[in-house]
Every structure is written in structure tokens, then in C-alpha cells.
């Protein structure tokens, strides 16, 4: 499973995420790609292949990508689309370059989750249409609440400690210029006073409804070195899907993420991620998923969620910084969120994260999920060398 070519992420760009972008998807995608290409001092003709990610349910129209295609410069050019979280689109772009057919690829995803659709009602469409959906008990929030409660009971994480995870992320977000929900003055009490969703989850454990887009430019080694002096090398990449019904899987263990991470680390030659990885961007839709996913990624020992937050092991400057960007608590444009994790992890490794830079970030893990509570997980290992 070793990679036959060295492939790097050489450029990335996010919108300033917002509750209402105020213009069309096409405008959003156009502005973003235009400025990314300008940053890299290249034109659309330097892009060998385009890989898009979006979701028709969330965009509310059939084959949603047909319109933005021309706006991002993909007209008459090689282009395809992944219908999953953006992290899978990066994985496909990587495969296309590894094949030797292409040297460069542009990945872009967009979502109008803030101004156009209700996230939860869209997520209900991933549920089993015959039984679970009709019953009305299962939804993105209720399942995440069950998952949170399961972890808290099993490993003794208190509500206050869970709120401290949200506090960390909201404060990190205040340092991230692209974040939508920023709270420099966040405290566990403020989190615990926010609107209850499905207890123990509250509004500030979750995510803001977000309009946003993210684009990433990948290149094979030779091209990458020409385009930047700080390429971010993809050293490992893998994905894995879990069982469908929630009763069939251990929501706290997240077996599929463990498998995906194991494969990605093996490719990257990482033996002990808890010692080698310095920074992680985790697609924790609800803050309760952060310790669960970080443990499945092998960054912290199982059940250490309380210890990690109490000792500040995952804060900026901590042992392994998790979600320096604020994670999905700062902005969660559906399908783009995993792509943003890859972009933010790249920022960290390249030392370009600015105020929310984790000092000495060399090896990063980026994680994306599709579905509810990590049904499908994708993992990247990114390195500065």
C-alpha cells in the first residue's frame, strides 16, 4: 500500500464562514477558486483534474454540481464529483494523481447550510426509510446525545468536563479568522447555560448552521516543489465504513475509524501516533465526539477524555493539539467540514495557521466523517517532510 508517487497539498483556501453568504453557490465557488489560483500564481489551465464534493439533498437541486462547474474553471475540462464528505474527494484526487494520469488536482466543496436548508432535516434522509425514519426517535441530535452519554457513563466524563471541550474549541475559534462561531470569553458555565438540544448536548456543544466553501490544490512532487516552498506531503490516506444500524455498532469505540487510522498510519510508517502526531483536526460534529474520535485515532488512550481536558493536553501548545481551528464547533458547512479539516491540518503543518498555530506542528492527522456519528470515516496523515 505504499504510494508510488509523492503527492503534496500545495494550496488551500476557505471562505469566511457565515450564517448567510448573501450570494449564490456559484459566486462563492468562483471567488474561492479564483483567489486560490491567484495565491498559487497559476491559472485554471494548470489544473489537470477537478474533484468536486457536494450533496443534492443539501443543495436542494438535482445534480447540483452542473452549475458551479463553469464558475470554477472546469468547463470542458476533466471533472468528477464525490457524493460524500470532502475528505473523500481529497482521497479520490490523491488516487487520480497517484495513477500517473494527472499531476495536479483541485478539490472543492460548498454548502449553504446556514441560509438555505435545515441541517437536521437533511440528515434524517440518511436514516433507514422503512423503520428508523418513520419512528421519529432517531435523528442526528438524538443519536449523538446517546453516543455522548455512553462515553460519559463508561469513562466518567462529567458535564462540566464536556463543556470544557466546547470552551476550548470556541476559544480556539476566536483565533481563527474563517470561523463563524467565535467566543473568546467562552466558559463551561456559558456552555451549560446554552439551549438544551438532546441532553447532555446543548447548542454550544454542537455547531452553527453554516454557509461556506473550501478548496484544496494537490500536486505530484515535481510540480509541488515548483509551486511552493512548503509542500504538505500526504503520507497516509485511508477510509472505512461501519455497519448501518446504530444498535449494531459501538458508538464509543468507532471501529471503522480505528481501521481507517490503522491503515493510514501503516502507509505513513507511523508506529505510535500518540508519540509522533503533534496536531489533529477531527470532524467532531458534536464536541462529545472529539475525545471519542481522538481515541479511535490512537492519539490518546481509551477513556482518557476527562484527563485530556483537565490537563489541557489537547489545547494549542498541549501534547497533541486537537482542533486548533475550533473544529466543527466553529463552522460546519455540511460536506465541506472534512475538507476544512484537511485544509486546517495543512495550515498547521506548513506553519501558516497564524494566531491558532500549534507550535512545532510537523505531523498532522485530518479526519472527515460521512453520515451520523462516524458511519464512514476518512483519515489523512500529513507531514512537513
Amino acid at each position: 500500500m505504499a504510494m508510488e508517487r509523492n503527492v503534496a497539498i500545495v494550496g488551500w483556501k476557505q471562505t469566511k464562514h457565515s450564517a448567510n453568504y448573501g450570494a449564490s453557490r456559484e459566486r462563492m465557488a468562483f471567488e474561492l477558486v479564483k483567489s486560490l489560483l491567484a495565491d498559487l500564481k497559476i491559472t485554471k489551465d494548470d489544473v489537470d483534474t477537478f474533484v468536486l464534493c457536494c450533496n443534492d439533498f443539501q443543495d436542494g437541486r438535482t445534480i447540483s454540481e452542473v452549475y458551479p462547474v463553469a464558475w470554477i474553471g472546469a468547463y470542458m475540462k476533466d471533472q468528477t464529483k464525490v457524493d460524500a464528505d470532502g475528505s473523500d474527494a481529497v482521497l479520490y484526487a490523491l488516487m487520480r494523481i497517484l495513477s500517473g494520469n494527472y499531476d495536479t488536482a483541485l478539490v472543492i466543496g460548498w454548502a449553504m447550510g446556514g441560509s438555505e436548508f435545515r441541517n437536521q432535516s437533511i440528515m434524517n434522509y440518511t436514516l433507514d426509510p422503512i423503520y428508523e425514519r418513520q419512528l421519529g426517535l432517531m435523528n442526528e441530535l438524538s443519536i449523538a446525545a446517546l453516543q455522548a452519554k455512553a462515553y460519559m457513563l463508561k469513562y466518567g466524563l462529567s458535564e462540566k468536563q464536556l463543556a470544557a471541550y466546547a470552551e476550548k474549541n470556541l476559544k480556539n475559534a476566536a483565533k481563527n479568522p474563517c470561523a463563524l462561531r467565535q467566543m473568546a470569553d467562552a466558559t463551561p458555565d456559558k456552555v451549560l447555560q446554552s439551549k438544551p438540544l438532546y441532553l447532555p448536548l446543548r447548542e454550544l456543544h454542537g455547531y452553527p448552521a453554516t454557509d461556506g466553501a473550501c478548496a484544496i490544490f494537490l500536486a505530484a512532487e515535481e510540480k509541488a516543489r515548483k509551486l511552493t516552498n512548503k509542500p504538505v506531503w500526504i503520507r497516509g490516506a485511508a477510509s472505512c465504513q461501519d455497519t448501518y444500524y446504530f444498535g449494531d455498532r459501538d458508538l464509543v469505540k468507532v471501529e471503522s475509524l480505528r481501521k481507517a487510522a490503522g491503515r493510514a498510519y501503516k502507509m505513513a510508517g507511523i508506529k505510535d501516533p500518540s508519540k509522533e502526531v503533534s496536531v489533529a483536526e477531527v470532524h467532531s460534529t458534536f464536541v462529545s465526539q472529539e475525545p471519542i474520535f481522538a481515541e479511535a485515532l490512537g492519539l490518546f488512550p481509551a477513556g482518557s477524555g476527562a484527563k485530556v481536558i483537565d490537563e489541557g493536553l489537547s489545547k494549542i501548545g498541549g501534547k497533541i493539539c486537537v482542533n486548533a481551528s475550533g473544529g466543527p464547533q466553529s463552522a460546519n458547512p455540511f460536506t465541506v467540514t472534512g475538507l476544512i479539516r484537511v485544509a486546517e491540518a495543512s495550515s498547521q503543518v506548513a506553519g501558516k495557521a497564524g494566531e491558532h498555530q500549534h507550535p512545532g506542528a510537523k505531523l498532522a492527522v485530518a479526519h472527515g466523517q460521512t453520515g451520523i456519528c462516524g458511519q464512514h470515516n476518512t483519515v489523512f496523515v500529513l507531514s512537513s517532510d
Binding site: 500500500m1 505504499a2 504510494m3 508510488e4 450533496n55 443534492d56 439533498f57 436542494g60 437541486r61 438535482t62 445534480i63 447540483s64 454540481e65 452542473v66 452549475y67 462547474v69 463553469a70 472546469a74 468547463y75 470542458m76 475540462k77 476533466d78 471533472q79 468528477t80 464529483k81 464525490v82 457524493d83 460524500a84 473523500d88 482521497l91 479520490y92 488516487m95 487520480r96 497517484l98 495513477s99 500517473g100 494520469n101 437533511i122 440528515m123 434522509y125 440518511t126 433507514d128 426509510p129 422503512i130 490516506a237 485511508a238 477510509s239 472505512c240 465504513q241 461501519d242 455497519t243 448501518y244 471501529e255 471503522s256 481501521k259 481507517a260 460521512t370 453520515g371 458511519q375 464512514h376
Partner: protein
């Protein structure tokens, strides 16, 4: 670059209008089991799965999650691809890149649609005029009903525009579309998996059907089918152990034109029959496959003909027959199973359309022709060295091309 082979093609059974007896995961599982049974492989040998269909048609988002167990994919990578009508072939291309990248050796690709569980035209109208349609929906509940009925032409409306333009350019008439539609229905009768089978169908039979949107008759249009298609791909090293048959992937290409019906490029309005992106991608694919004279080197083609006139249009744009010669070729029987450029011996999409599967079925049928094992009498009589498969999607914006051969690329 690694050589990639198709070693198995599986169907859930014959494509039909309604399958009330099974649900979607069961439909898919039947095709998966069928494909595996034709190989020496078991579930454990499949390292990754690629899945695709039209997202909104059956009302389930990310259905790949739902099929986990039925795909045998628990604990494996699954990638979901969706690009409108080209979905099946885009998913096939993704499967190809899974192997060509060197990350995986043996992968499975699944394309499916169960049209009896959704409203196809409602989904399709959204492509024709998505912005207007969305506006109508959002404006008021009363308007949303009218919005639906206002554009009830669905894809046929756009296709009739393309057909008129094509007939004008190629000096064809409605009778030529009758001829190719009759050929498709008769070919389908030789394919045990095809949906609309009319043994010995004659152009006169098609001519009796009413006009839906001039020049397209009811007999020129495709049915809404239920069915799934599965293929297994592997490396050169593993191909001969996996199966007795192999079709080698020699080229893959896909591109997109603009979304508007009349492509508005630099202020110049072109028409949907022009298909510049199809010509560009065909050239690219021939170059990748090392084919210099497609008319001689390609022995059979499977094109995505949701509407019968497209079975004349695409071979022209793909360079398989001379430009403007479609009507002449069909009149002389040159596109028939025994002709010198057989097109759609399977009966094509106009006889079987499970949308998310249709573009994948084109590759599957091309693979069966290369392997020489097409069942029921639709195997072309001459030796097939190279076969071309084509897909289109959206409102003619998307195009995908795949070329398969009986030996790996040189």
C-alpha cells in the same frame, strides 16, 4: 501506470419496471452475489467498494451507508460517486483509479436505481431549470405545485430540442429515429437482462406510437427501470486467478460542458447536439488507448441513448462513424449487431434505464463483448479487440468515455 482488468460483470436479474418484492439493499445484494459467483473470489478478496446512483430519486441520502452489510463492505473503504446520468461510469472510473493508484488491488463497483420507489421526472426537472424550480418551490406552497407541473416535460423537453438540431444537421428525419429505436428494441430482445424487449421490432411498430415532444415519439424514449449492475476490477497479476475472463481498461475520460441548454460560451450560443466536450473527451480517450483510427480499431460501441436519436448522434460525435452519416448508417443496417459498427447490441439505455446503473451497464456490456460472453444472441459476430462505452448526464453537460480491450495497453 498499472494495468487494470474487469474480471466480472453481475446483474441482479432482468431489469424491470417494478420490484415490489424486494427493497433497495436486497436489489443490490443480488447483483453483488451474482458478480462474485462468476469469479473465484469471495467477499474477503474485495478491498474497497465504489457505489453510485442518482441521489434524490429514492429519497435516501448517502445510500451507501444503508448498504454496508449488503455490499459486504463493513470495515472496508466505500466511496460514493454521483454525477447525474454519468454516475455509473464515473463510479467505474473511480474504481479504475482505486486500482491504478496502487492503493488497492481488487475492488467492486456498484451502480443501481430502483425507479419504482421514487418520482424520476420530479428529480429530473430540477436539472432543466433548477433555479426557477427552486424559486417556485420557495415562493409559496401554492406555487410549488405549479412549479412541478409547469416543467413536466422533464428530460424529454431538452432531448427533443437536441433531436431537432441533430436531424437538421445530419439530414435525418423522424423515420430514421424510428429505425434506430426499432433496432434497439429488437436487440434488447436478444439480451436476457434488458427491460423493453420487442422481438423483431420494425420501424413501422415504433411509428405507431404517439409523438411526445416533436420529433420524439413514445417509442423513442426509455423506460424507468429497476436494477443494479456490479463489476469487479483487479490488477494484471491477480486477473487470471480471479476469473477466466478479462476485459482491460485502456482509457478513461470524463468532462463537463456548461449547464444551460444552449451552451452560452463567450457570448456564442451553441446547441445541445454539438457536443464539443464529447469530441474532446473521445480524442483524449483514443490517445490514452493508443487508438489512431477509431472507425477501424473499435469493433463495438455501447452509448448512452436515453432517447433513440442519440444512438445516431453519439457515434458521430465519438468519431465512430463520419459526421452527418447517422441516418445513412442506420438505413443501411451498418449499426446492427452484424453491421460494421455495431452500436448498442444490448438494446441500450432506450430499452433499459435504471439511471444510476445505466452508464455502468454500458461499460459492463462493452466488457461482455470484449470477453465474448454476451448472452442470448447479442454477442457481435466479429472478434472484438476494442470496445467503447459512453455516458452522458445532466442536460447533456456531462460526458464520460471508457475504452476496453482484449489485451492490456501497450
Amino acid at each position: 501506470m498499472r494495468d487494470v482488468a474487469i474480471v466480472s460483470v453481475g446483474y441482479n436479474g432482468r431489469f424491470v419496471a417494478k420490484r415490489p418484492d424486494i427493497n433497495i439493499p436486497e436489489l443490490i445484494q443480488a447483483a453483488v452475489e451474482n458478480a462474485l459467483a462468476k469469479t473465484n473470489l469471495s467477499f474477503g478478496d474485495i478491498e474497497a467498494v465504489i457505489e453510485g446512483n442518482m441521489p434524490t430519486f429514492e429519497g435516501v441520502n448517502y445510500p451507501n451507508l444503508w448498504f454496508s452489510e449488503h455490499l459486504g463492505a463493513v470495515g472496508k473503504p466505500v466511496m460514493r460517486i454521483s454525477t447525474g446520468g454519468t454516475t455509473g461510469m464515473s463510479a467505474f472510473h473511480a474504481a479504475y483509479y482505486h486500482v491504478a493508484s496502487g492503493l488497492y488491488d481488487t475492488v467492486m463497483v456498484v451502480g443501481w436505481e430502483k425507479h419504482d420507489e421514487g418520482d424520476v421526472q420530479v428529480g429530473l426537472i430540477g436539472i432543466v431549470l433548477p433555479d426557477v424550480f427552486a424559486m417556485m418551490q420557495n415562493f409559496s406552497p401554492e406555487m410549488s405545485g405549479q412549479g412541478t407541473s409547469m416543467f413536466s416535460g422533464g428530460s424529454t423537453g431538452g432531448a427533443s430540442y437536441q433531436a431537432m438540431s441533430y436531424l437538421a444537421q445530419s439530414n435525418g428525419s423522424v423515420e430514421h429515429i424510428d429505425m434506430i429505436a426499432a433496432q434497439a428494441r429488437a436487440n434488447a430482445a436478444l439480451n436476457p437482462y434488458a427491460h423493453l424487449q420487442v422481438p423483431g421490432c420494425k420501424p413501422e411498430d415504433i411509428a405507431k406510437t404517439p409523438i411526445i415532444s416533436y420529433p420524439l415519439r413514445f417509442g423513442h424514449t426509455c423506460p424507468a427501470s429497476c436494477g443494479a449492475c456490479v463489476m469487479i476490477l483487479t490488477t494484471k497479476e491477480k486477473a487470471s486467478k480471479a476469473s477466466d475472463h478479462a476485459a482491460w481498461v485502456k482509457a478513461v475520460a470524463g468532462a463537463t460542458s456548461d449547464a444551460t441548454t444552449g451552451n452560452l460560451v463567450d457570448g456564442q450560443i451553441t446547441d445541445p447536439a454539438e457536443q464539443a466536450h464529447c469530441k474532446v473527451m473521445a480524442k483524449k480517450a483514443y490517445k490514452m488507448a493508443g487508438i489512431s483510427d477509431p472507425m477501424k480499431e473499435i469493433q463495438v460501441a455501447e452509448v448512452y441513448d436515453g432517447f433513440a436519436h442519440q444512438e445516431l448522434l453519439w457515434p458521430e460525435r465519438l468519431g465512430l462513424i463520419p459526421e452527418g452519416k447517422g441516418p445513412e448508417y442506420v438505413a443501411k443496417g451498418r449499426l446492427a449487431i452484424g453491421g460494421d459498427m455495431p452500436v448498442n447490441p444490448s438494446g441500450g439505455v432506450v430499452c433499459t434505464n435504471a439511471i444510476g446503473a445505466s452508464a455502468l451497464v454500458r461499460v459492463a456490456e462493452a466488457a461482455l463483448q470484449v470477453m465474448g460472453i454476451a448472452e442470448g444472441g447479442h454477442q457481435v459476430p466479429r472478434k472484438v479487440h476494442n470496445a467503447l462505452a459512453h455516458g452522458w448526464g445532466g442536460l447533456f453537460q456531462f460526458v464520460t468515455v471508457t475504452i476496453l480491450g482484449d489485451a492490456p495497453r501497450k
